[in-house]
Amino acid sequence: MKWLGIAAVALLAFILNANWTKGRWQNVAVVFADRVVVSAPVQVVLYGGDRFLAADVEAIRASVTGMDIGTVNLGYLSRAQNVASELNPCHEDNYYTANALLTLAGADRQAVGILERAISCRFWDEMPPFYLGFNQHFFHGNYADAQRNLQLAASRSTIRTTSFTKLAIMIKAESFKNERMALEFLTEEKDKTRDAKLRALLEVRADRIKGLLRLRDAQAIYEARFGKKLENPGQLMENGIIQAFPIDPMKIGYRFKNGEFHLNELAMQ
């Protein structure tokens, strides 16, 4: 009985002490506040040598916790999805969401590696080369690479060979100013996804591109009407071609550079 009393008193003292020390000291000085992504070789060991499982879990984690309606944690998503892509470059969900979320949210450079790995791993799949070609054309004006990837997509496709080839030829002629065809294609892809949350996000991304298309259309009208290059986006408003600039639903915005409208890119390390 005596020892039980000693144990009870000591336990009580321990709890009081714990209550006092709580919050007064931190074991790890937090300097890196962003979320942790474990590097690929370490994940292989953590998952019992099973890189496929590691890729599945990382892709699920990224898609479940990396986005909210309208906002994405881009720094985290880009790191997590790149690691998932190293573990299993063939993972379809991973390259699809990486393209949808990273690219259209202004971090398309971070998605290039994922798409390139998917192109070489999924040697039969027409979608990764199409996405990469589309990005290279639409975001960077890199016509040679865009054409090469679209032709690769055309050679892999069984039902879309002609439309991909047409796109590639139009890009080659540099007459391809009508991105609507590609936008429609992306919209169709969006409708195919099962996940309501992802679909809502893709909706926002599509609206962002529609805003850009409106700006480019207005520019074309201006240039046709006045017979000279547009120098300043403000001229569109002054001449009444548009009433207001389109508002980017993602709040990243558009920019006018070298006489062309582009999507703004987010600055990321």
């Binding site: 590097s39 099973d50 496929f52």
Partner: protein, 269 residues
């Protein structure tokens, strides 16, 4: 007394040891994980389901095998059952081989049950959503299961070797899990180190160190050919698969022979 008598006795021992509850638990776990993982995939639910299901049985069945080896061999020494079982008119070799074959037969049966149920589950999930790249549940799937069986037999043989010389039965399961981790992950780690700069400080010596493992441990990571079934392409089967399987079979022969040799000289105290 023939080896068949030993096998039938050992089977009765496993039934009495209630290992079948363990099998049932793995089955429930596999089915649950498979169904839940599919719900998290936007574009390829059947592929992710198959992937996670294979991961579950690839990890759990070798542990089951090690537990049975522990029960049939290591416990025999610890609990001094050999005082009775060794008095029967059969050699030590027949006794050990009989117990070993019992475990192999059990593993084969358990794997077959899991593979059949997983196949049904994935087919059911596949009917709910038509994905662009379908899983291959025919011939390719059974190749994956066959390779997994070779992998399991390697781990069982290593567990048998440990059971013969271990002084505590617990070492069998832990040793088998440790072996599984190393044998399945080292080749992936070597491949993935290319993408992870700065993860290890002295990469060259680290690589050489892991490279040495290639001569000590069979590359079980190479026996994981599930990409063939996940994406329905036989091209994912490595070109040198006959040599890799031969290596694993030679390792099985070597460890089992060593276990028999050690067991013939074992001194019970």
């Amino acid at each position: 007394m023939s080896v068949f008598a030993v096998i039938s006795n050992s089977f009765r021992l496993t039934v009495r040891g209630r290992y079948l509850y363990f099998v049932f638990a793995i089955l429930v776990f596999m089915a649950g994980a498979t169904l839940m993982a599919a719900a998290f995939s936007a574009r390829q639910p059947a592929t992710v389901a198959l992937d996670v299901g294979i991961s579950v049985f690839r990890f759990c069945i070798p542990i089951f095998a090690a537990v049975v080896v522990q029960g049939l061999v290591a416990h025999e020494f610890e609990r001094r059952y050999f005082l009775a079982s060794m008095t029967y008119p059969h050699s030590r070799t027949v006794w050990l081989v009989g117990r070993y074959l019992t475990v192999i037969l059990l593993v084969a049966a358990v794997l077959l049950v899991h593979a059949l149920i997983l196949r049904e589950l994935v087919e059911m999930i596949g009917r709910g959503y038509s994905q662009a790249t379908k899983t291959a549940l025919g011939q390719q799937y059974w190749w994956v299961v066959g390779f997994a069986f070779v992998d399991f037999v390697v781990i069982t043989s290593v567990a048998l070797l440990i059971a013969v010389f271990a002084t505590t039965p617990g070492l069998v399961v832990f040793g088998a899990i440790g072996f599984l981790l190393i044998a399945r992950s080292y080749s992936s780690i070597l491949a993935l180190l290319d993408g992870a700069t700065g993860l290890v400080t002295n990469e060259k010596t680290y690589r050489e160190g892991i490279g040495l493992l290639h001569y000590l441990v069979p590359d079980l990571g190479a026996l994981d050919i599930r990409a063939t079934a996940l994406y329905g392409r036989m091209d994912f089967l490595p070109a040198i698969w006959p040599q890799q399987v031969t290596g694993a079979l030679l390792y099985i022969l070597a460890t089992t022979a060593l276990a028999i040799w050690l067991f013939q000289r074992k001194r019970f105290v």
